[in-house]
């Protein structure tokens, strides 16, 4: 063996000294080389890459977050300007903002996929129950980061997002006002509200997240990586430890082949996120956070669209329950998962209920998210002046119907009712309403709204008799060419021999 140079000898000596004091080769190296089940080395190992991808994204988030914090000003009067500065002035400020947003989104995706994989393959069962529980709270941290991060993007979505959070918290019985005050840091949404969410986003939640993550990783090391499931292999807490120990006798070191997959996938995921960020660019900020600005149309970030949808669709009576109790129920269910079933089969092919739960959950989340993104329940505020009456309707209309359609627009009906699919979608599309409702039914509906306090407000007090008459002329005309209006051909028996009033009055006005 070749004699090392004195320099090299000194370095080696110093390294050995450090190693002795830090215990790297004694404690840390064995930890990294801990064996994992051999089959992780095989194709099944690709299922195990999502956790480490989440970790990779977390590191990107820390890096970009530090970068953004160098320029961003967490002050209500200057945050917006500093965001614009990041987008347009600071070299690559736009890129950091974009990457922070898309890596954050990627983190939510990876955490969910990781969780789903653990659930489907029963990896949360004995002895890894606590790993799952800590993971649930990590998910909550990630979602908390997403929400608080949206607030820092100090635009109308942020401002009104805070308003919504405040209103939801304000529904808590007795303590509501105190919670709202604590959340907003004052009587109105403003500087201290932003500072509180800045503190949450930069100190509190990251602190909790890193702490939980340390526990999570320690549990992974302590309990070992679960063996890829095989149908028929069952978990029994009484025998599992011995079986697992046996399994590891043939194991492979984690720091080796098994880790290559993780690193490869993380690298790919990072590249994809960088590409998306550089192509799509930073998200917002949109308009300045001016509370008096007309036409604000706040929307939550994508991970919360499903909640937005649920709140729009739930009946008024159960809404407060959905806001306050439902999230707790979901968290409790998630936490209880490994205690409900911590033994038995792990392979998804033997656990149809688990597979069904995943399918149902994701379908529901997907549908609700889609609904939240399209928000058919939101009135379209500019429809009455911005969505033209379809030309085909204009061309077939007589004078009364033409003016009736301007009354339709003028009374903002279009904000909730589409014609030919264009317009608001809160109420039904009225393209064929003339075939469904008679003249009298239309007048009653417009005057008094949906019976029993439904979706349509009563217009009776806000519309003159002339406007009503002409408006209904237009509505009755809304039917395919050549069809008769509703109530024309089928007089209701209860009305006796006389022709139905609706038909008579329609006749009177429509064809003269």
């Amino acid at each position: 063996m070749k004699q090392d140079s004195p320099m090299m000898q000194h370095l080696k000596h110093a390294a050995a000294w450090c190693d002795h004091r830090l215990g790297i080769s004694e404690v840390w190296l064995p930890m990294m080389r801990h064996p994992v089940p051999k089959s992780v080395e095989g194709p099944m190992g690709w299922w195990y890459v999502f956790g480490s991808a989440s970790l990779t994204f977390l590191m990107i988030q820390i890096l970009t977050g530090i970068g953004l914090a160098m320029v961003y000003v967490p002050s209500a009067s200057e945050a917006y300007e500093s965001l614009l500065y990041l987008d347009y002035e600071q070299p690559l400020g736009w890129f950091l903002r974009a990457l922070h947003y898309y890596a954050g989104s990627g983190m939510v995706v990876m955490v969910l996929v990781h969780m789903t994989q653990v659930f489907l393959q029963g990896a949360y069962k004995y002895p890894r129950e606590l790993t799952w529980v800590v993971g649930v709270f990590l998910l909550l941290c990630v979602l908390g980061m997403f929400f608080s991060g949206q607030i820092l993007r100090w635009d109308p979505d942020a401002y009104w997002g805070l308003a919504v959070a405040g209103s939801m918290a304000g529904r808590v019985p007795f303590l509501g006002p105190v919670i709202v005050h604590t959340l907003l840091g004052g009587d109105i949404i403003g500087g201290e509200s932003l500072s509180r969410f800045f503190t949450l986003h930069v100190f509190v939640i990251p602190g909790a997240l890193l702490g939980l993550l340390a526990v999570h990783l320690w549990l992974v090391l302590r309990c070992g990586v679960s063996k890829p499931p095989r149908p028929g292999e069952s978990v029994d807490p009484r025998t599992y430890d011995a079986e697992y120990e046996q399994e590891l006798k043939n194991g492979v070191p984690f720091l080796g082949e098994a880790m290559v997959k993780d690193m490869l996938f993380s690298a790919l995921a990072t590249i994809v996120v960088v590409l998306i960020a550089s192509i799509l660019g930073p998200k917002g900020p949109t308009d300045p956070p001016l509370p008096t600005m007309g036409g604000a149309n706040p929307r939550p970030e994508w991970p919360f669209l499903w909640i937005f949808a649920m709140l729009a669709l739930s009946p008024r009576d159960v809404e407060t329950f959905i806001m306050l109790v439902f999230p707790v129920v979901v968290i409790v269910i998630l936490v209880l998962v490994p205690f409900v079933s911590n033994r038995g089969e792990r392979s998804p092919s033997r656990r149809p209920v688990a597979v069904l739960v995943v399918i149902v959950t994701y379908t529901a989340l997907g549908v609700l998210t889609y609904l939240g993104a399209t928000a058919p329940w939101s009135p379209k505020m500019h429809a009455w002046t911005g969505d033209a009456i379809p030309v085909s309707m204009v061309e077939r209309s007589n004078v009364s119907e033409l003016v009736g359609s301007t009354v339709f627009q003028y009374k903002n009906c279009r904000n909730c009712h589409a014609l030919d699919g264009i317009g608001g979608r809160r109420g039904p599309d009225l393209t064929d309403v003339g075939t469904r409702l008679t003249r009298d039914q239309l007048i009653d509906q417009v005057s008094n709204g949906t019976p029993g306090g439904g979706l349509m407000p009563a217009f009776g007090k806000q519309i003159t008799p002339a406007e009503m008459t002409i408006l209904v002329d237009f509505l009755v005309s809304l039917r395919p060419e050549g069809t008769k209006p509703a109530g024309w051909a089928t007089p209701e028996p209860s009305l006796g021999e006389a022709p139905p009033q609706a038909a008579a009055s329609t006749d009177d006005r429509d064809e003269t």
Partner: protein, 190 residues
Amino acid sequence: MQQNANPPDNTDTSPAPRSGGARRGFLKVLTALLGTVATVLVGVPFMGYVFGIRKRRVYWVNLGPVSDYTPQQTQLKTFDNPLKQPWDGMTAENAVYVRYEGKDEDQRDQFLVFSVNCAHLGCPVSWFPQSELFLCPCHGGVYYADGAHASGPPPRGLYHCVWRVRRGELEVRAPHYPTLHDTLKQTSVG
């Protein structure tokens, strides 16, 4: 990773000399006591700092002479909310809807002053003078001109601000962010 790497540590349970036992017992109690006191001394002020509630002060915001208002018309009035913090910037610019109801039988001016925040989840409602409705862009809450709930998810009508007429001018008590259990009729939290 090895669960039983160390033999069980029995030193705590082994019988100790009598005199030392009393002293150690006292030390334990003292440590617990002082520890608690120290924790409270740090914790209570900190909790007070984070959760403390400043007394909500009453400010009156001038919204101009009554003669500027047309009866039965609703308008958006903007103002710099005195409840702000000095660094609030444009977010302190708040608004209310004011509807002049004319004079009552005692010749007193009557107003309706509404918060712009929807009673459902606080989104900003828009006033449509043509249909005389307030529409909320978030979940489609609708209110009539008098603020009453017309349709949609809101559990109540619009929040009413407290107002008064002083020397011919309309004044509104600076509105805090209103919520279901903390409406604008209240002066203090809770």
